[in-house]
């Protein structure tokens, strides 16, 4: 079998893309398009919904259906699309600012509803597009353009948040793990219910520069050294866990999704009165 390239979903004449060299967003997009191709997604039955930010620019390069929304609200738009036409593949691309900083409320509620969307979140530890400001996902102590002496706040664990909120599928990968990333996105797309693939991603232009990892390599090394396959991560002591994060498939369950539950309730409402 020849390898999927995903090129059939790319718009002609728009490359080179706008992302900085060393940015992880392109790696994510490539993995997503290869996953689309391996699953034989059609442009007509696929809707890519994007938020605002460097990640949110991804729709510019795609020939699938797309809806480029407002900052933080992509999941709410996607919810309307999926609820009205459950046969569509609805994929939501967001930054970490988008998904869990300004848009955190929509994120937890989409997961709680377990609505059959696939959310792909580029977690680059800051607001890339607007100049590298602190986000709800910037680790404590780290430097950004609005935390010159270090971040006094703590960061969200996006995967844990999705898990407790009720997502059926949760995974984390990094651009360092390109093939695995594609596999996780494929699993997420295939899964009924809310699925999240979090992509730890270098932003050499801002977060890297501000945190002595100006070279993309240095951020990738950070991911490689700290990211452990989830089976290995789970065996670590509590103290060791502080220096690492798990990658791979973290949650995989089959709770009924929103549309399935909705149709069950509809059957009650439309049952002939006895």
């Amino acid at each position: 079998m020849s390898h999927a390239t995903g090129i059939r979903y790319l718009k002609d004449g728009v490359l080179p893309h706008m992302w900085c060299s060393g940015c992880g967003i392109g790696v994510m997009l490539g993995a997503m398009l290869r996953a689309f191709e391996e699953l034989d997604y059609k442009n007509t039955d696929t809707v890519v919904v994007t938020g605002i930010g460097c990640t949110g620019k991804a729709d510019d390069y795609l020939v699938t259906n797309a809806l480029h929304t407002t900052h933080g609200r992509a999941l709410a738009y996607a919810t309307g699309i999926k609820a009205f036409n459950p046969s569509l593949h609805v994929v939501v691309l967001m930054g970490d600012g988008d998904s869990v900083t300004i848009g955190g409320n929509h994120f937890i509620h989409a997961a709680r509803r377990n609505i059959d969307l696939t959310a792909i979140v580029i977690h680059n530890f800051n607001f890339g597009m607007t100049g590298g400001q602190v986000a709800g996902t910037t680790p404590g102590g780290r430097f950004t353009s609005t935390t010159a002496w270090g971040n006094p706040e703590r960061d969200f664990d996006i995967c844990a948040l999705a898990e407790v909120a009720g997502a059926n599928y949760v995974a984390r990968e990094t651009p360092y793990h390109g093939w695995e990333l594609k596999e996780r996105i494929k699993e997420a797309l295939d899964k009924k219910g809310f699925s999240l693939v979090e992509v730890f991603s270098p932003c050499p232009t801002h977060f890297g520069k501000n945190n002595e990892m100006k070279q993309t390599r240095e951020m990738l090394d950070w991911f490689r050294e700290r990211g452990l396959p989830v089976e290995r991560y789970r065996k670590l002591s509590a103290g060791e866990k502080k220096n690492h994060f798990p990658v791979g498939k973290l949650v995989d369950r089959d709770e009924p999704d929103f549309n399935a539950r909705y149709e069950e309730i509809r059957a009650r409402a439309t049952a002939p009165e006895g």
Binding site: K11, N43, T44, D45, V47, V49, I52, K57, D59, D60, V63, T64, N65, A66, L67, H68, T69, T70, R73, A76, Y77, A78, T79, G80, I81, A83, F84, N85, S87, L88, N105, H106, H109, Y262, I265, R266, A269, T270
Partner: protein, 375 residues
Amino acid sequence: MAKEARLVQGNQAMAEGAIYAGARFYAGYPITPSSEIAEECSKVMLKVGGVYMQMEDEIASIAAVIGASLTGAKAFTATSGPGFSLMQENLGLAVMGEVPCVVIDVQRCGPSTGLATKPAQSDIMQLRWGRHGDQIVIALCPATVNECFALTVTAFNFAEKFRVPVILAPDEIVGHMRENFSVPEPGEIAVIDRKKPSVSADRYLPFAADADGVAPLAAYGSDYVFHVSSSMHGRDGYSNNDPANAAWRVAQLHRKIEMHQDEIVLTKSFAVEDADVLLIAYGATTRAGRAAAMEARKQGIKAGVLQLVTLWPFADKEVAALAKKAKTVVVPEMNYSGQVAGEVRRVLGSGAEIRRVNSYNGEIISPQDILKAIV
């Protein structure tokens, strides 16, 4: 056979009007004095094959409505001041992306949480200017339960025909008032559906306007693949930063409404032919205005009422024509600043005599209050 009339609440009539117009998606977040609309939709949508969703907030509600509309649904939401404020950013996307949808704002007394159960007509400028960026919207305002139903159908018709969000803005009095009402038969009120593309799929441009100023709109999941964007975009829906494109786009969004102004601006008039005193009113205040005009006529003063059914775009022509014949213009409205009186002033110029009657304490304006301004 005579149709059965029921005692129906304004909010109920708007929900029924939406279903009559073909609405099959509702997403909202309950708020007084609009919640009856959500409650009715939560029941009926399941039965008619539609979808009702209670979202996490009003930001999400209007977003879901827009998403559903682009997926082919006639979609709407209902709220009041605090929720309407939250909707503004995403409502701007409906303008920019030319997405048909209806928002009902049952107006209550503010500012902020204000008097949650009391009426006001103080969102008039927010209806028009609530969003950032230059744009134009259509806003309608019912005064009776019958109008609640009929204007909801009109709101959907305008939304579908012109690919715009349309706002229906009753005050709390009209939303909660009960009157005799019977649902029209199917076909009795015309129902308009959006124009669908007919070109081959590879030639579809979602923002290439026809001669009527409006581009056909496909649905996600159809044979047509398309992009919609909150960012400035070209005819193909893809991002476009060219100043010439932006100028065309902003003007186009205005023009498609302006060129249909005569069709969109709806007014009703009562006893205006010989009126020396012209009352210009909207919503519940119309009712007090009519009673005041009748009383004034008993006292020998020729008074009449121009009801603004369409609040935006403003009825410049109609106001100017009738005011020319009258000696005095009176504008009763439930706000402090005279939001519509200011528009009337803009139309009539600084020399015209315009008397304002305002209430802003959550109390209705009575016919007596208006009468005092007439005699």
